[in-house]
Point group: D2
Chain length 257, copies 4
């Protein structure tokens, strides 16, 4: 008989945390051994026998939580923001002392979104032109979205590394804003529309062809497959991994196409 993997969820009373609790309970290969709120002591993780700790708390708490987990030989899957370069560096130092322990810090657990960004970055060097259109509900306060900015940065870096010249653009006569915002030289257009949730299209074009990579996020449920993938995979990835795509197998092995 297969042994269940004992999992603890921190931040279990938050919206993401509550979803994670349900997802772990529903998974046949996982066992929820602890579900802690902000005032619960971390010691109970040890007595509960957790092997993987899922941190969905707040920036002020996440560093202490992850350090505790690592010091006690538990793996950690982290969706909390606030991991500055400095905090990451200290975590790597800590991890150097326990070479078998893995930590995943993922700003985005939506598998489709992570894949879309990775594919856009991989494809960007092969096309003359690339632009991004992101579409969200009208209550969003920032434009472009963080995901679009990050995608544009990765696309720009990939093109720069491959020596791709700037995209052609003969625009001489324009209304202010028509050609979008520029993020590292990549045009990004932000649509705000009642009825939408969170959507993004990366458009890549060359003579005679276009490649479009679109991701639609309809609700929070889309994060749970990524959280479960992180829980199941973290033990096989010792050390620090930033970004869920580090756990994805994007190589197709040769399709013969």
């Amino acid at each position: 008989m297969t042994e269940l993997l004992p999992v603890a969820v921190l931040g279990a009373r938050g919206r993401m945390g509550a979803e994670a609790v349900r997802a772990v309970e529903a998974a046949e290969d996982l066992e929820l051994v602890a579900a802690l709120g902000s005032s619960d002591p971390l010691d109970s993780l040890v007595s509960a026998g957790a092997r993987v700790v899922v941190d969905l708390t707040v920036p002020d708490a996440t560093v202490g939580n992850v350090s505790f987990a690592v010091e006690h030989g538990m793996h950690a899957v982290v969706g909390t923001t606030g991991w500055t370069a400095d905090r990451l560096a200290r975590l790597e130092t800590l991890l150097a002392g326990t070479p078998a322990t893995g930590v995943l810090i993922a700003p985005n657990f939506a598998l489709g979104s992570v894949l879309a960004t990775a594919f856009a970055a991989a494809a960007a060097r092969y096309f003359d032109s690339v632009e991004i259109v992101e579409l969200h509900h009208p209550d969003k306060v920032d434009a472009p979205s963080g995901t679009a900015v990050r995608t544009a940065q990765l696309v720009a870096a990939a093109r720069s590394a491959a020596g791709v010249p700037d995209a052609p653009d003969a625009t001489r006569d324009q209304l202010d804003g028509a050609r979008g915002a520029r993020v590292d030289g990549v045009p990004v257009h932000s649509v705000r529309l009642r009825g939408l949730t969170a959507h993004q299209e990366v458009l890549l074009g060359s003579a005679g062809e276009q490649l479009t990579i679109r991701h639609d996020s309809f609700d929070r449920a889309s994060f749970m497959p990524g959280v479960l993938l992180g829980i199941r995979s973290v033990a096989r990835h010792p050390g620090l991994t930033v970004g869920l795509d580090g756990y994805l197998n994007l190589q197709t092995g040769g399709t013969g196409s």
Copy 2:
């Protein structure tokens, strides 16, 4: 036996004109009786017996051509630009003297594009939000496209006439240009991508739903069905009509949906 409709094409050596010559010749119900270049005398239209004159010339020539046609009782289908309000007013005066004669002046003969704009204008009052994304080849010098500006103006006018409030938008923190250009308050985003020709999406959203009206123009061939529709319909529309949609039957009669 059905009589063929005798048609003359002016500007027959230009790109659009040459296509129109081919389209008229290929149509079973039409007969090409004249195909004139810029230096050919207009008198030959009379001797050729033209009933409909298609003007695909240049702004300097079109007024004289259309006046000649109207004065000789011929209908005119005009794709040439340059028809200012003043020129249109004088043409209407001239037409008042020959009540059976029709003139169509159409800035756009692509049926799909004309329909897309008309549908967007008709739908605009029923949604909270509306934005336009237009996409063209990167050799285009202006942004947004003329079609997008016109669509935005019609959308804005329809919403204003129906008393629709401004679209919701909580954006507080943005990169310059992210939210597009504003045309009469409607956000318009211009994408330039190698491989594309001319494309436009109107996005309309309300709580729980989205309506998208997209037109793709892949090549000049798309103008000919509209030119033929104009030729066949102009005799049934005496007086001046501006815009091919004046000839389209957009009413569905009640679908029972």
Copy 3:
């Protein structure tokens, strides 16, 4: 001061009915004067002074409810199914006796969906080819969707009325099912995908161009604007109207495009 329109909702304990109750309460120009469940007596509609009755009940109850409303001079807005041709005929007879009373029977209250179907039907005669792709969640038991079947029927009828020949199709060698189902000759393709709700694309093509009309329904909230439009408009449409599009103003008046 503007007088509020007194509205009653029948079927107020059902999912649609409960949404309608909330929508009427939230509308500044409407007053909810009754919200009845299946066992509540209809007499209370009279004492409550309802001017418009919204019926969101079940096929067995709707005929009696609407008859009661019409007999008492109230307008009715009906979202319940089960209105056979025979039932509709009897309702029209009843309405003939009270010429000022209006009844709207609408199989679909999603404005965007109703508009999309109406636009597709209006555009269909102007294109060589037309196909429908509908996309739904994988728990749906029928394929194609009722909306897609209805859209295809209207598209086919419009093409037939205009004498449009069959769409070109050189397919000789095909896998079973590849070219979709045929509804009155129109190919309809049904996609079932986890994560989706209810979506439909009508694709229209001619030489050099494509027109795409897409509707996305993300949740039930999308029905309420249509219900409110029906409530506010029914008094101005005496007699029987089938289909919400009978209340929509789809004519654009001439866009000059």
Copy 4:
């Protein structure tokens, strides 16, 4: 000064061959040293000093051409069809004798299409549902397209290898063909529309999210960047490579997303 790479094109009078001749001549790092038609002797390849031979001929000629190239130590980039398993096996035997020589046999040189297929195959294991919609001009005789069949096979193989269960589908009541053709269990829908060229969408869905990978091929020009990539890369890939994706760097290295 950089040395130019000497390239020969076989099948130079065919449509693809003529495009390749122009593309090689236009490339600053390549030198066209031979452009042979079907009756020209292969010996001239040797005297011309070709380092890379591009074969765009016919199934009957390609085996002899490639063998000649390999036997004379030239690399080969092959777009001709007709390479059966048996022919490929014999080519590998031949290549074993000249370990520095590379041969690329690519059924598809459109970079965007190759990338789209590779991305679809890589993503397929991470989603509950996957379906393919391919759209072509109405003169196409087969349905689904070869590219769609191949994409479906690769998607199915990737899901099978990862142990992904069948996509959910509650359809009980359907019109014949509505749910498309099945290729290794993957539903494939074929749209035929006047105005289109060659287009494909792979739709992937899980709870709360959708990933769409779309490729549009507008004209033959889209093949040339892939041909040039093959020419420039073949010397760095000794032995036999089937499929242009074997030359693409699809790994993103870790985006940190």
